[in-house]
Amino acid sequence: MNLLLKNARVLDPANRMDQVADILVEQGRIAAIGQQLAAGEQTKVLDLTGKTVMPGLVDLAARLREPGYEYRGTLESELNAAMAGGVTSLVLPPDTDPVLDEPGLVEMLKHRTRQFDHVSLFPLGAMTVGLKGEVITEMGELSEAGCIAFSQADRPVVDTNVLLRAMQYARSFGFSLWLRAMDPWLSTGVAASGAYAGRLGLPSTPEQAETVALQTLLELQRSVGVHLHICRLSTAAGVELVRAAKARGLPVTCDVSINNLHLTDLDIGYFDTRMRFDPPLRSQRDRLALRQGLLDGTIDAICSDHTPVDDDGKNLPFSEAEPGATGLELLLSMTVKWAQDDGIDLLTALSCVTANPAGVLHTSGLQGPKLGSLEIGAWADLAVVDLDAYWQISRDTLLSQSWHTPFEGMEVPARVCATIVRGKVVWERAG
Amino acid sequence: MTNTLSPPSIPPAQALYQKLLQAVRDMIANLPEQQVHLVGIHSGGAWLAEQLQKDLALKAAMGTLNISFYRDDFDRIGLHSQTAPSEINFEVQDAHIILVDDVLYTGRTIRAAMNELFDYGRPASIRLVVLVDRAERQLPIQPDYAAWTLQEPPSGNLLLQRDEHGQFSLQIEQEAL
């Protein structure tokens, strides 16, 4: 598929490029970026004056809810949502039903998604059978079936011995482990410990739930040398620990969700279940530290943590409601909003959703040309965006099957106009 | 907004009170003294009853009624009980009640007062005395004595006032223009 994109503002955080240029795509790959490029034969020409072209977003956590939870979301609806958000690569946590702990299930998933032929999916395999934290899965087989790394989703591992053995086993193959830092005994609350949860009388989770688990993970990792990706960091103290670990040269990477990046426990208001998350929303101090961590490279990436929940899951008292919110369509806008709010250079901010998360995937073992960047020879996975267009987040504007988002009603910047995967325009906004 | 002009065609309240006093004196002359109880309706009726109690030197205790729990317009205006609660500290059973109010208008207040009294017990009789009768009844209720009866409706709400010396006056509360 050949494409010539003309006169767009080209943003490539990986190469710190920000200029108006043409991009030539041949056979689905980026052939050239420059001025006044000529179209070859059978080349579709698109005039993108006034628009921005950037690498398609790489989302390190998005639940598509298939198999097993189709009443909350289907591959079709959620992949549509991904493309509407300019996301061209996404990582699937293994907590589907059944759990992704067998190669056959991964094959089935890939088969299901092949018919959509759009977004690149990187499933995480379960680290233990059934995610129960007892028996290690056949990581080799799962990797061959297509799993990019191994994870426990949101289920903590109680037995530290199992954790250690899993790290050693993964290390033998050069696999990565993507883990939440959550202590099983301290993580039983529904909101973050603090003055606000105290007022609301909600069972709460102290920051030690994250830091104690993080210390354990880092200490075990130190003796093994496996690459650990810490998922959904949420505390200032946690950022400190990761910063220190990176300074010591440990192979650690981590991400933060758009929810913890923008919201705090005060946003729970009158028990608003749209604010029910795991990890919980924490204090302003924590939010500040997370933003600082993104800026200084301690935190590598921002992810959407897309978790569709249906009405039945949210129309309940706070502690009984299901945690999670829709996010794929919001990843770009909420990243640009953060950049605008804090006066951060756009390329730096966007690297958190393109080059950096791609880097985490490559560190986890992804071969081939660099994802999340506009390298010559890389697949042309691109997002065409109107950075100055504001849109209102609402039931009517969201494509996901779940419209439960804490950002409902907000006017946010950056509207995706079209999404291109391997040089093919796979999604275009109507009108 | 209270307009402090006195209503034009009504005699002064003190004069009306004197007439009321005489009427009540006559009324209770043939009733057994120990069982006659004045009951005033808050707040104007209660003031009148207090003054009557003193001037008649009655032995038996008087009472006051709040009636806010017995009104028929709760659904429309809710509960606004800022005045003191009802106080009936005597046995209503077999009592001869002289119910006292300042202005008789639609009759609904009296209906509520009687309902409340009956929740205390079964009186032997109830007689109603008022200072002014506006004669715009919505219920079949009539006073046994009214010191003055209006021939035509006043221009606003008729209110009884009592100053620091205990002197009564009548005023019209008009809506601000």
Binding site: S193, G194, A195, Y196, A197, G198, R199, L200, G201, L202, P203, Y270, F271, D312, N315, L316, P317, F318, S319, E320 | N66, S68, F69, Y70, F74, D75, I77, G78, L79, S81, Q82, A84, P85, S86, E87, N115, E116, D119, Y120, G121
Partner: protein
């Protein structure tokens, strides 16, 4: 600022928590309650104020005492009272909270009195009822028990006349106590001089100082010169949760005895929301002694609940 308890005219239409209720509304409830107190002395204790209205007691958590006082209060207002024992009914068959409410609204309920184990449940219900239906929180999880706080305030006002110079100490399991939270908010709104919380660290939540409360782990220090002591019930489950070693040890350090009472002011009031665990949080000599107003709390509780029901039922739709 949006307050889910007030309608657009600023009238109280639901009572969900004492937090965020303006002082004049709290005072209005106490004043109204005082007009209901004399009713208890009458032969006919009823007034026809809520005649024709239906009050549904929805108790998802068992409580005979609180439910009974609400029942008495509603009956004295001449309302029709319906008690729903939720454990035995459809919710255990999987019906959601909101479905239960929708079904009851279809039966023309006017007032829901709700007790639920999940903090915030009454807020969810209040969001989903019609404008002329009112929700009264009879206790939600650890969050709030506003009628208890109001009757506690009424009791304090009755004996102490004014709130301004008072030092009030709340003793016990503040962490799990909705009574404590509601009392703290009411006391600070009504302007008491000092609110104190006394208990071991395992039973004191974080953020108390942000609520305007001074914390003490030594009871003698916390009780010094206190005007009012509110004792909280200690629940047995706390022993199992690694929060306390034993009730014996708890009584020794945090139980209210005559000896400890001596640290407070000579005319101190001793209060307890009930039911009491004698010998665990309070000794009998104190519970039955001259400082105790525990039984007065119960009497005032009926008048306060009558006041709350009358006020919300009278709010315009």
């Amino acid at each position: 600022m949006y307050n889910p308890q007030l309608n657009r005219h600023g009238e109280l239409t639901h009572l969900l928590t004492t937090e965020g209720l303006p002082r004049d509304i709290l005072t209005h409830i106490l004043d109204t309650a005082s007009t209901f107190v004399p009713l208890a002395a009458r032969d006919v204790k009823k007034v026809p104020l809520l005649r024709g209205k239906s009050v549904f007691n929805l108790f998802f958590e068992n409580s005979t005492r609180t439910r009974t006082t609400f029942e008495i209060a509603a009956t004295r207002l001449s309302a029709d009272v319906f008690n729903l024992n939720i454990n035995a009914s459809s919710t255990s068959k999987g019906e959601t909270l909101l479905d239960t409410i929708a079904n009851l609204m279809a039966m023309q309920a006017d007032i829901f009195v709700v007790r639920h184990e999940a903090s915030g449940a009454p807020f969810l219900i209040a969001k989903h009822v019609a404008p002329d239906v009112h929700v009264i929180n009879a206790g939600d999880g650890r969050h709030a028990h506003p009628t208890q706080a109001l009757l506690d305030m009424y009791t304090i006002r009755h004996f102490k006349k004014s709130f301004s110079d008072l030092t009030v100490a709340i003793v016990g399991d503040v962490l799990h106590s909705r009574v404590a939270r509601s009392n703290i908010h009411a006391l600070t709104t009504l302007g008491v001089a000092e609110v104190r919380a006394i208990g071991p660290l395992t039973l004191l939540p974080s953020g108390l100082d942000q609520m305007g409360v001074k914390t003490f782990t030594r009871m003698e220090d916390g009780l010094r010169d206190a005007d009012v002591i509110i004792m909280l019930r200690l629940q047995n489950e706390r022993m199992r949760g690694a929060l306390l070693p034993s009730s014996h040890e708890y009584f020794k350090h945090y139980g209210l005895t005559e000896k400890k009472l001596a640290f407070a002011k000579p005319d101190v009031l001793v209060m307890h929301p009930g039911p009491m665990n004698r010998g665990v949080e309070i000794e009998s000599a104190v519970a039955d002694g001259p400082h105790s107003v525990i039984l007065n709390q119960v009497t005032f509780g009926i008048a306060v609940r009558m006041a709350v029901m009358s006020i919300v039922a009278g709010a315009s739709a």
